[in-house]
Symmetry: C2
Subunit: 311 residues, 2 copies
């Protein structure tokens, strides 16, 4: 099983088009301590022939161009991308669908709640359902988005997409709107949770024992945006648990057995994006990796399975 982080940043990317927070200023200046990063996305495959995109970021065209295994391989029209799975309806996870219009067949998987949000907007018809069937996935029901890869959606505490927020949005709701994905192949497991408002007991139990967890690293502290002087929203208000603090991801997941811990969906304001920062060192010393675009995880068959099937 292979997984490639196509985009490691949260909405806006790094640098964000209109931002001069301390991290973006370094990025605009070309400072090598801040790697430019595109918006949130993952590609997963079993065997490398067919690939699943988890979410379609607005930067998907650039991400495909930067990732040779996703280039077309034969004939006049082709793509190894055979499926797309959405984990919520946020712009940074769905706007890339518009780029995937081109009469190229693939399966679009999401919960009913997410598919409904899309269906309510006629502009998504440009990704013609006759060519790109929309396949409803139920929570907790394993399915096989591409051959050999098993995926299971599970609910995590989240928030409605910004464009569907009402006057007083509910934060931390657990339902079909925000999900995590457990991938499984050859006895190995990768959990992908790019958006999560709170680390619940349920989440802790699920990710205990996985080979890798790629988790929401949007904000370091709940008040990152306020500190950076670029906004008034807390992490909680945006539906993202902080990395630090007593209820933050590092502390809340410390007791779990996890092979590799990787922060993804990192907002441009987050100081862990600066290579030599104290915040980066703290995160790494806590056993976490800060994802970058192109980071690849490659898991061979588990030792247990290999023993059971000696040839």
């Amino acid at each position: 099983m292979q997984a490639i982080v196509l985009g490691s940043a949260a909405g806006g990317g790094v640098p964000q088009w209109n931002c001069r927070c301390p991290v973006c200023r370094l990025a605009w200046a070309g400072d090598p301590r801040v790697r430019p990063r595109t918006q949130s996305g993952l590609a997963v495959s079993y065997g490398g022939e067919a690939w699943l995109l988890v979410n379609a970021s607005p930067d998907i065209r650039q991400q495909i161009a930067a990732t040779p295994v996703l280039h077309p391989r034969s004939g006049s029209r082709h793509s190894p991308i055979q499926a797309v799975l959405l984990t919520n309806g946020d712009i940074d996870h769905v706007a890339g669908l518009f780029t995937l219009r081109e009469s190229q067949p693939f399966d679009l998987f999401a919960t009913a709640g997410i598919l409904d949000a899309i269906a309510a907007n006629r502009i998504f018809d440009v990704v013609n359902p006759a060519c790109v069937p929309r396949r409803e996935v139920r929570l907790e029901a394993p399915f096989e988005p591409v051959p050999g890869l098993l995926a299971t959606l599970f609910p995590v505490p989240g928030k409605a997409p910004l464009w569907l927020e009402g006057e007083d949005p509910v934060i931390g709701e657990v339902g079909e709107g925000t999900v995590g994905v457990m991938f499984e192949a050859d006895g190995r497991r990768i959990a992908y949770v790019p958006g999560c408002a709170r680390v619940s007991d349920d989440l802790r139990q699920r990710v205990d024992g996985v080979d890798a967890l790629l988790f929401d690293g949007t904000v370091l502290e709940d008040d990152d945006l306020i500190r950076a002087g670029v906004g008034t929203k807390t992490g909680w208000r945006m539906g993202h648990v902080p990395i630090n603090g007593a209820k933050g991801a590092i502390a809340a997941l410390a007791g779990c057995s996890i092979g590799q811990r990787v922060f993804v969906h990192i907002n441009n304001t987050n100081p862990i994006l600066i290579d030599d920062s104290a915040e980066r060192r703290h995160v790494e010393e806590s056993g976490w990796t800060v994802a970058y675009d192109g980071l690849m995880l490659d898991f061979a068959m588990s030792a247990e399975l290999a023993k059971a099937s000696p040839e």
Copy 2:
């Protein structure tokens, strides 16, 4: 007056994510004869302080990153992009609006027809109208999208966006759905017509005498896509007049007095994208330039105006 071609390709860009037509194959292989190109967009300014984007392509984040004059300049949040103008509702011209969500104020200009198409899709609310006012522009009524720059929309023969097409779409309709723009400053004029189904007498009269015309170069011949083996649609069916032929752009505009003739919105299947091709030579020998991303036009005050205002 300055104009920068941010994206010189049609929808899909070069290479297109799922395409292996002869041009895309060279691009995927990194052949230097085919420059990669992003999707259709232009930036225009008078004086370089404030910029208007004409259309917002899905590649807008990458285009801004590649264009230093569009980077934020001061404070914690800023952008020199003060306005966006849409010339139709095609995905390659509107999907970039989603990237421009970030509570950054700018004016969004378009005809009522185009604004209505957008308003019908709630997902565009992410570009909050309280922050990004939608300003209806009437055909033939000059307005000033950014200080010092005069713009006038005029109708050109076009087609409804793919995502609003019915069973039997009308091609070549002249109305509010597809427009060209005439820019004027300091006695100089640039006409921008990235989509046009037919060169009409009206169009010929309008562009006669301009300093530059940037015109629809989607297809070389009406059957480009069929020849390339990637589709069944003709240029006409997609709402684009060919470059060649008795009614093509080169012939139909040959009698007009035009300072610089530039093809933009060039589809990945168009062989003029190959630097040393016979097709490229033919177009250049006919007096036309093939646009590339970053191409800049910079017009000082006209001689007539300079004479009239000696200091």
